[in-house]
Amino acid sequence: MGTQSHLLSVIVFLPLLASGALLFLRSEDHVWIRRTALTISLCEFAISLRLLLSFQMGDATYQLAEYSDWIGTAIHYHIGIDGLSLFLVLLTTFLTPLSILCSWNSIHENVKGFFLAILVIETAMLGVFVSLDLFLFFLFWEMTLIPMYFMIGIWGHDRRIYAAVKFILYTMFGSILMLVAILWLYNLSKTVPNGGTFDLPLLQSYLQRGVIALPPQTELWLFLAFFLAFAIKVPLFPLHTWLPDAHTEAPTAGSVILAGVMLKLGTYGMMRFCLPLFPGAAHRAAGVIGVLAIIGIIYGALVATIQPNFKRLIAYTSVSHLGFVVLAIFSFTTISFQGAIYQMISHGVSTGALFLGLGMIYDRRHTYEIKEFGGLVNPMPVLMAFFLFIALSSLALPPLNGFIGEFLILIGVFQFHHAWAAFASSGAVLSAIYLLWSYQRVALGEVTVEKNRTLSDASARERVILVTVALAILFMGLASPLFTRRMEATTDNLVRQTQIEGAPQNAKSPARIVPPADPSAGNIVAAPPSNTSHARLVPVAEAQVNP
C-alpha cells in the first residue's frame, strides 16, 4: 500500500472534502463563498495536470491504480486511469472552474448550496471516470444525479420542476437496468472458484478467457441493460427528450457541466463497459445502434435548426454531435475510437463554451428566445466575436478542435462502414446551417429590440472565461497529437478486445479455458497495480483467438 501513489484519490476527493470549507462560511458571505469555491476548483485543476506528467504513453494498463479492500471480499476500492479516462478527468477539472466563474453574479439564492453542489458533482464525475470496481462506479454514477437534480430543480428557470423530474426519471430508469446487470455479472462471477467480484478488470478477464461462459442471449441482455443506461445519458435518439428540457431550464453552470461532462459519462460507459465486457453483443447490436446514431446526427441537427429558443437549439446540437461519438464507438477501429475520445473532449470544450457564452447573454437579458435578440454584435462586439469563434469550432471548421474529432471519426467509421460515414458527413452541412443561421438572427444586423441597445460588452471576468476557452479550442485543434498519442495504447487494446469474429465458439470450447491462476483478492492486492490491468490479459485473449 505504501508504494501506491494516491494522486488519483486526491484528485477525486479534493473537491468534496475541500467543499467542507464552504460550510464554515456564513451563508450571506457570497463573495468568500465564490472565491473559496473558485480556489478549490483551480487547485484541483492544477493538481490534475500532474496526471499528464505521471501518465505513461504507450502503456495500455490502468495507470496510477489504487486498490484496497472495502466491503467484504467482493467490493474493492479500485481506481485507475488509462488513455480513455485521462482526458475526461482533465476535461472535468478544466470545466469546473469555468462553470464556477460563470455563475459569479448569476446565482442569488442559496449561494452556498449552489457552489457546494458544483464541487460535489465534480467529485462524483471524476469518480465515475476512474472507478474500476462496478459497485464503486455505480455509487459515483448515482452520486452525479442528486446534485444535478437539485441544480436544475432549485436554481433553474421557470419550468425547472418538470425538467428536473424528467431528468431524474429518465436516468433512474437506466440506472436500475444497469444495477440489475451489475448484480447479474457479480452473480455469474461467483461460479468461478473464489470468485464473486465487482472488479472490472477481473470480470473482464473472466469473460474474455471464457472462465465465465456467457450464452449469446444472456450477453445481449446484459449488454443492453448497460447500454440503455448509457444511451439515455448520451443521449442517443430516441431517448433524448430529457436533454433539451434539462438544458433549457438549468442554470448556465448546470448546462456547462451537463453538456460538457455528464453526457460523456454515457459514451465513456459504452467504451469502458459495453465494448470490452460484451464484445460479441456489441457487434451484434452495432447495426441498430449505428443507424440510431446516424438518425440522431441528422435528426438532432434538423430539430436544432428550427428551435425558437437559443439554448434549446444548442441542446439539440449535442444530440447531433454525440451521435458522432456513438457511431465511432460502434465502428470498432483504432481511429474511430480515438476520434470518439477526442470528440468527447472537444465537444465538452466547444459546447461548454457555447453555453458559457449563452449564459453571458442570459445574465443581461434573462431570456433565451432568439426573437428577443438580433444585432447583438452592435452593443457587444467582443462577446459576439468570441461566440462566432466558438460556433466555428462547433461546426467543425479546420483547424479548430471540432474538425479533428469529427474528421477522425469519419475516417475511422469509413473503415468499418462506408455508408455510415457518408450519412454522418451530412452533419457538417447541417451544423453550418443551424449555427450560422442562429448567429445571424442573434448577433448580426441592426439591433431589433430596443432593450438590447444598451447592453454592456464582456466584462473582465467574462473575457477571462472566453479567452480561456478560445485558447483551449485553438490548442486542441493545432496540437491534437498531444492528445491522440496518449490514447493510442488504450484504443489499440480496445480494438483487440473487440475483435471477436468467431470468438464465442472459442469461449465455449472447454479445452481452451485457462483456469485463473489464483483469483483471490489477496493475490491481486499483492501484485503491482499494472497486474490488475489489461496488459496481462491481452496476450491470453489473443492466444484464445488463434488456437
Partner: protein
C-alpha cells in the same frame, strides 16, 4: 536555400498581419493598419518571388519540393503532417495569389477608406491570403482541405462585412452553406482516398497510381468515385451547376473582395484541386467526361443569364461562373495546362474587371445599376481604358490574354484526344455570349448619354491607390497570355511547357499526355505542316475569333447604333427574356424544393410530432400512469424545493431498498 527550407514563412506572414490587425488594429490610424496589412502581403509576395527564384535552380528530381514541419493529426494509420510542397503548379498559384492579393490590398486602401471597421477588413483579407496559401502549398489533401474551408470562412466574413445589412449577411451565410454542401463530397472523397491509398499525401498517392496498372483500379471504379466526389467539392467552391447560386449573391460583399475572392483566387480553388489531383482524374475517364460536361454546360448557361443582368457586378458574377466553366471544360478534356492557364489569365482580367467596376461604383457614389450610368468614358478615362482592355481580354480578341487561354481550351475541346463536339459548340456559343454581354456592359456604362442626375452624382476618377492596381492588371491582361504566343505560329507554348512536369509525371501514358498538353501545336502543325504565317492566319480566322467579333458587333448594334432594339426584342421575346431575367428561377426552385420542405418537416414532423408527440408523449404517459397509480402526486409538482428534496430522498431510499432486495436475491 533559405526560403525553400522555410516555406512556412510565406504563410506565416499574412497570418501575422491578420493577427496584429485583428487584435490590436481597432484603435490604430489607417496608415498603421495599411502598413501591417499591405506590409505582410508584400513581404509574402517577395518571399514567393525569392522562393520561385530558388525553385528555378532545383534539378527536376528535386521537384516536387516538400518540407514537413510537424505532425498535425495522428491516429492509428491515419497521419497528417503539416507539410508544404512546391512544384510548377504551386508556383503559378503562389504568384497569382500573392500578386493579385497585394494589388487588391492596395486598392482597398482607397476603396474602403471611409468604411467602419477598416482594420477588420484588412485582418480578414490577410487571413484570406493565409488560408489561400495553405490551400495551394499543402502537400496532402487534408491540409488542402484546411485552406479550402479557411477561405470559405473568410469569404463568409468578407461577404457579410457590412453586418448591418441583412442581404449581405444572408449572402455570406448562403455562400458558406452552399459550398459546404459541395464539401460533403470533398470530405467523403478524402475518406475514400485514405481508404484506398492508406495515405493522404499527394506524392504517395500518385506513386501508388503509377505503380499499379490502371486496370487494377478501373475494375472497382474507385478512382472514378474519388474523382467524382472530389469534383463535387470543386462544384461547390468554384460555383458550377448546380451549386453556383451562391456566387451572384456574394456580390453583396465589398468589391475588392469580389475581385480577389470571387474572381481571382478562391473560386478557382476547385480548378486547382482537380489539376492537382490530375493523376487520379486522368485514370477515371468517366469522371473526366463529367468534369467537361459540367464545365461546358456552366460556361454556356451562366453566360445566358449574364446577357440580361443590369447590375454591373451581377454581370461580372455570372461571367465568372461561366469562365470557371471554361476552366473545367479544359481540365475535363485533358488539357490541364490550358485550364490552369485560363485560371491565371482570368485572375488578371476578371480581377481587373471587378476592380474597375469598383472604381465605377466609387465614381457613381455606390450605384451599381448600369441603367443609371452611361457616358462615363470621358469622366473616368483610366478606369474606362483599363476596363476596356479587360473586356478585350475576356472576349477573346486576339493578342489579349484571354484569347490565348480560351483558344487553347476550345481547341482541346474541338480537336484534342478527348474532343467532344457538343462541348466545343457550347463553349463556342458561350464565347459569343461572353463577348456580347461584356461589350454590352462597356457600352451601357461608358458610352452614350449620362442617365444619372449630374447635379447629384459628381463623377470623379478614383485615387492613385485604386488606379495603379488597375493599370498593373491591365498590363497583365494584355501580356499575360504571351507565354503562349509563339504557339500561334507553330512554336512552343511556354506556359504549357513549364507546367508539363506536373501533368506528365504521373500520367497514364506519358506519350498521350504530352500529346494532349501540346495538342494545339502538335495537332495543327501536323495537319497543315506549313509556314508560320499560315498558322497565324489559321488561328486568327478560327471560329472563336469570328464569334467574339460577332458578339461585339451585336452589342454595338443593340446599345450604340440602335438602342431601341433590346427593348423591342425583350417585348417580342418576353418569355425567354423573363426566364433569363429571373435566372431561370433556380433560387426560387431550390427554396421551394429543398429549403422550405426541410424547415417544414423539421418543425412540424420531427419536432412537434416525433419529439413532442411520440417520444415525450410516451414518456409523459408512462410518468402519468405511475403518478395516478401512486396517488398523491400533485404535491410533487408544488414547485417547492424543500418538499421536492424530500421527494428525492424518498426516491433515493427507494433505490437503496431495491438494491438491497436485489442484493439478497443474488446472494
Amino acid at each position: 536555400m533559405p526560403i525553400l527550407d522555410h516555406l512556412w514563412i510565406i504563410i506565416a506572414l499574412p497570418l501575422l498581419g491578420a493577427a496584429i490587425n485583428g487584435l490590436l488594429g481597432k484603435n490604430w490610424s489607417k496608415p498603421v493598419v495599411n502598413a501591417v496589412g499591405i506590409g505582410s502581403v508584400s513581404l509574402a509576395f517577395f518571399s514567393v518571388v525569392e522562393a520561385v527564384r530558388e525553385f528555378s535552380l532545383l534539378s527536376p528530381d528535386q521537384i516536387p519540393w516538400i518540407r514537413s514541419y510537424f505532425t498535425w493529426i495522428t491516429a492509428g494509420q491515419f497521419k497528417v503532417d503539416f507539410a508544404l510542397q512546391i512544384d510548377q503548379l504551386t508556383v503559378v498559384m503562389l504568384l497569382v495569389v500573392t500578386f493579385v492579393g497585394l494589388l487588391v490590398h492596395i486598392y482597398s486602401t482607397g476603396y474602403m477608406a471611409h468604411e467602419e471597421g477598416y482594420y477588420r477588413f484588412f485582418a480578414y483579407l490577410n487571413l484570406f491570403v493565409f488560408f489561400m496559401l495553405i490551400l495551394v502549398l499543402a502537400a496532402n489533401v487534408v491540409l488542402m482541405f484546411v485552406g479550402w474551408e479557411g477561405v470559405g470562412l473568410c469569404s463568409y466574413l468578407l461577404v457579410g462585412f457590412w453586418f448591418l445589412k441583412q442581404s449581405a449577411i444572408s449572402a455570406g451565410k448562403k455562400a458558406f452553406i452552399t459550398t459546404r454542401v459541395g464539401d460533403l463530397g470533398f470530405t467523403i472523397g478524402i475518406l475514400l482516398t485514405f481508404w484506398t491509398f492508406h495515405t493522404v499525401d499527394f506524392v504517395a498517392i500518385f506513386q501508388q497510381l503509377v505503380g499499379k496498372p490502371a486496370e487494377a483500379f478501373a475494375a472497382t471504379g474507385v478512382l472514378t468515385a474519388i474523382s467524382l466526389l472530389l469534383f463535387i467539392g470543386a462544384i461547390g467552391k468554384s460555383a458550377q451547376i448546380p451549386l453556383y447560386v451562391w456566387l451572384p449573391d456574394a456580390m453583396e460583399g465589398p468589391t475588392p473582395v469580389s475581385a480577389l475572392i470571387h474572381a481571382a483566387t478562391m473560386v478557382t480553388a476547385g480548378v486547382y484541386m482537380v489539376a492537382r489531383m490530375n493523376p487520379v482524374f486522368s485514370r477515371a475517364p468517366f469522371a473526366m467526361f463529367v468534369v467537361a460536361l459540367i464545365g461546358a454546360l456552366t460556361a454556356f448557361f451562366a453566360a445566358t443569364i449574364g446577357l440580361v443582368q443590369t447590375d454591373i457586378k451581377k454581370v461580372l458574377a455570372y461571367s465568372t461562373v461561366s469562365q470557371l466553366g471554361y476552366m473545367f471544360l479544359g481540365l475535363g478534356v485533358g488539357a490541364y495546362a490550358a485550364g490552369v492557364f485560363h485560371l491565371m489569365t482570368h485572375a488578371f482580367f476578371k480581377g481587373l474587371l471587378f476592380l474597375a467596376a469598383g472604381s465605377v461604383i466609387h465614381a457613381m457614389n455606390g450605384d451599381q445599376e448600369m441603367g443609371h450610368m452611361g457616358g462615363l468614358r470621358t469622366k473616368i478615362p483610366i478606369t474606362f481604358w483599363c476596363m476596356f482592355i479587360a473586356t478585350l481580354a475576356i472576349a477573346g480578341i486576339p493578342g489579349f490574354a484571354g484569347f490565348f487561354s480560351k483558344d487553347e481550351i476550345l481547341d482541346a475541346a474541338g480537336s484534342g484526344p478527348h474532343a467532344n463536339l457538343w462541348f466545343y459548340w457550347l463553349g463556342l456559343i458561350g464565347a459569343g455570349l461572353t463577348s456580347f454581354y461584356m461589350f454590352r456592359l462597356i457600352f451601357l456604362t461608358f458610352f452614350g448619354q449620362p442617365r444619372y442626375d449630374e447635379h447629384k452624382v459628381h463623377v470623379h476618377e478614383s485615387p492613385y491607390s485604386m488606379t495603379v492596381p488597375l493599370i498593373c492588371l491591365a498590363i497583365l491582361s494584355t501580356c499575360g497570355g504571351w507565354f503562349a504566343a509563339p504557339h500561334l505560329v507553330g512554336g512552343t507554348d511556354y506556359f504549357e511547357r513549364f507546367l508539363h512536369p506536373v501533368f506528365a509525371a504521373y500520367s497514364v501514358n506519358p506519350g498521350i499526355e504530352q500529346g494532349v498538353s501540346l495538342a494545339g501545336a502538335a495537332g495543327s502543325a501536323g495537319e497543315i505542316a506549313s509556314s508560320p504565317m499560315t498558322e497565324l492566319f489559321h488561328a486568327l480566322t478560327g471560329w472563336p475569333v469570328i464569334i467574339a467579333l460577332l458578339g461585339l458587333l451585336v452589342a454595338w448594334w443593340f446599345y450604340i447604333k440602335s438602342p431601341d432594339t433590346p427593348k423591342k426584342l425583350a417585348q417580342s421575346l418576353s418569355g425567354p427574356y423573363t426566364l433569363l431575367l429571373h435566372k431561370y428561377w433556380i433560387d426560387e426552385l431550390y427554396h421551394a424544393v429543398i429549403v422550405a420542405p426541410l424547415l417544414w418537416i423539421s418543425t412540424n414532423i420531427l419536432w412537434h410530432v416525433v419529439d413532442e408527440g411520440a417520444i415525450d408523449g410516451t414518456v409523459n404517459g408512462v410518468a402519468r400512469g405511475l403518478r395516478e397509480s401512486g396517488g398523491r402526486v400533485r404535491e410533487i409538482q408544488s414547485g417547492n424545493a424543500r418538499s421536492y428534496a424530500t421527494w428525492v430522498v424518498v426516491g433515493a431510499a427507494g433505490v437503496t431498498v431495491l438494491m438491497l432486495v436485489l442484493w439478497t436475491m443474488v446472494r
